[in-house]
Symmetry: C2
Subunit: 342 residues, 2 copies
């Protein structure tokens, strides 16, 4: 399978390391072999070679802060759209930065790749939160795959679990902790910190951005909930359709009162069927301590899925991380290679 | 797909209800259509018809306590081995009673079916705990599938998750709560009951047998741990190879002391790699309250899987139940129909 990376930041490099480390195992166990034929990154440069790029060398170039365009056997100055229109590739990995307001430039990249007959896997929440149905239809029209395991809960295989292993079940509701940063802040506040100190610690640890709005106001969880509503429940929701409250108004006094009452605040993203409608919400909720989501502390994510066959099933795992999100792309590549997602 | 039920108790009837309820959805969404051509049960009687049995009528006969042998279009007096040797079927569902000491008569049923070229799915822990490697080889030699999702955590799709959605990961350790009865008893003891009262309540609710040894001495968890060691880690362990301690020696004083220390006892089944060896254990363990397994109360099961790609991933769900265990068989049937387990 010939791979094209559009974006070559942390997640792309995490996947690259996994691909190199597991090359033989992937061939033996999953009949999956790969060649990277193109890489394009706005800041890091571009390279293309139909015979394959040496991924280890490119990782070394990136680690040294040199330009990928200087790679000797195929360095070039193509931008993303030129690369997508010219590259010899079967699958595009869309791993540029996320813009959850416009979905760009990732959405244009995905459209161009699908129209050229490439399958696509992405960790980019913008295109999925805004245009998932349009892009799924475009993929179907071009008879290619379009997967996005890494958009929700990183490589914790939530979407794959729903598609493959809960096949045959009807899902009536999903509720979960979809943002690790806010869960970390709430966990710290339970241990006595105030909001500002907990946020500062999250920023020091690299969990929160300098401008933390996307996390603490709930927008990141909102994007993920919208993705789940559309791709799992078949809805056509836009992010603006869903009420969204973050954690900035929760006071230490409220957290102490909850603890005294045997409860705990969690920022819960929720999607559920209400008759023929699909509804969603993002808001802090008081959870009983014996609920599986209540025990999920720190930056971990979790999702409880309510089914007609099993009642509640909960999956708990990482929601971010270089290697953890890179693995999401690998799950999708294995599924595409196996022909299973169709 | 032509199905043969060997055993027609609770789990078989749970699956039958799901098959009837979801018939159209399974055809549309999973290209899976089914006919039941044979049913044999030591106590409830037998029927065979290559054109298909009316499963709703047979469920009604069983519900009324009449003999399936009186079914008009194919009632017969064949025993299990005669049925397996004569039935027109593609897949045998082995759902007779579990004997974890001998694995019989289920193991003979599975051998006979595999040798006739039928695929097999089972919820029966006996054959898997004792003969999983031999049976897997026999299935491979006959080019058929042999699946057992329901032997561990009922229909909570643990084995399918490991096989399909964590493909590409290396598993170094699994530890979990694999027996709902003992977890229920421990949960009740934390709320102040003594062991005898908690056991009695578990018996009243149908969680524990009149002779509760298989649960409370850890044998049920031991069978499941052995299955995981052999089919997930490729070991060749017999149940006797693994140290096994149940919950009968845990005192209310110990439970109170653990709570005062911010911990909680759980009966933990564990399998891990130790160099080239695979080791396993079943024993009560003190868990920190912030461990994902600590919050799992009542009769629920859970498993934490340690991977090289994601760190820890935990799945929480039912470990028993008519419909929940029946669904495990349905997961396997869908996988067999899709040709995916090979």
């Amino acid at each position: 399978m010939r791979l094209l990376f559009v974006g070559f930041g942390t997640v792309a490099q995490g996947l690259s390391e996994l691909l190199i480390e597991k090359k033989e195992q992937l061939e033996e166990d999953h009949d999956f072999s790969w060649t990277v034929t193109g890489i394009v990154d706005m800041l890091k440069g571009s390279a293309h070679n139909p015979d394959g790029l040496d991924l280890e060398k490119i990782l070394a170039i990136a680690a040294e802060g040199r330009s990928i365009s200087d790679y000797p056997d195929g360095g070039c100055d193509w931008d993303a759209l030129e690369m997508i229109s010219k590259a010899d590739a079967d699958v595009m990995l869309e791993v540029t930065y996320t813009d959850i307001k416009t979905g760009q430039p990732a959405t244009d990249h995905i459209r161009a790749a699908l129209e050229r007959g490439m399958s696509v896997t992405t960790t980019n929440k913008g295109p999925l939160a805004l245009f998932s149905n349009e892009l799924a239809e475009l993929a179907a029209a071009n008879d290619v795959d379009f997967l996005c395991e890494g958009t929700v809960m990183a490589g914790t295989p939530l979407l794959n679990l729903l598609r493959e292993t809960l096949a045959g079940s009807e899902i009536s509701e999903m509720q979960g902790i979809l943002n690790g940063t806010t869960n970390f802040i709430l966990t710290q506040m339970e241990e006595g910190m105030d909001y500002e100190a907990a946020l500062e610690q999250a920023q020091e640890l690299g969990y929160a951005e300098a401008v933390p709005d996307a996390d603490v106001l709930g927008w990141d969880a909102l994007a993920k909930v919208t993705i789940l509503a559309n791709i799992v429940f078949g809805a056509s929701l836009a992010p603006d359709d869903t009420p969204c409250t973050g954690i900035t108004e929760i006071t230490p006094a409220q957290i102490a009162a909850a603890a005294a009452d045997g409860k705990r605040y969690k920022l819960i993203g929720r999607v559920w069927r209400d008759g023929d409608e699909v509804r969603a919400s993002v808001a802090p909720q008081l959870m009983d301590l014996d609920h599986p989501l209540a025990g999920v502390g720190g930056a971990t994510n979790a999702m409880t899925i309510t089914t007609d066959t099993l009642g509640d099933v909960t999956i708990v795992g990482p929601g971010a991380g270089r290697r953890e999100t890179g693995f999401a792309l690998l799950i999708d590549l294995i599924a595409i290679a196996a022909g299973s997602p169709s």
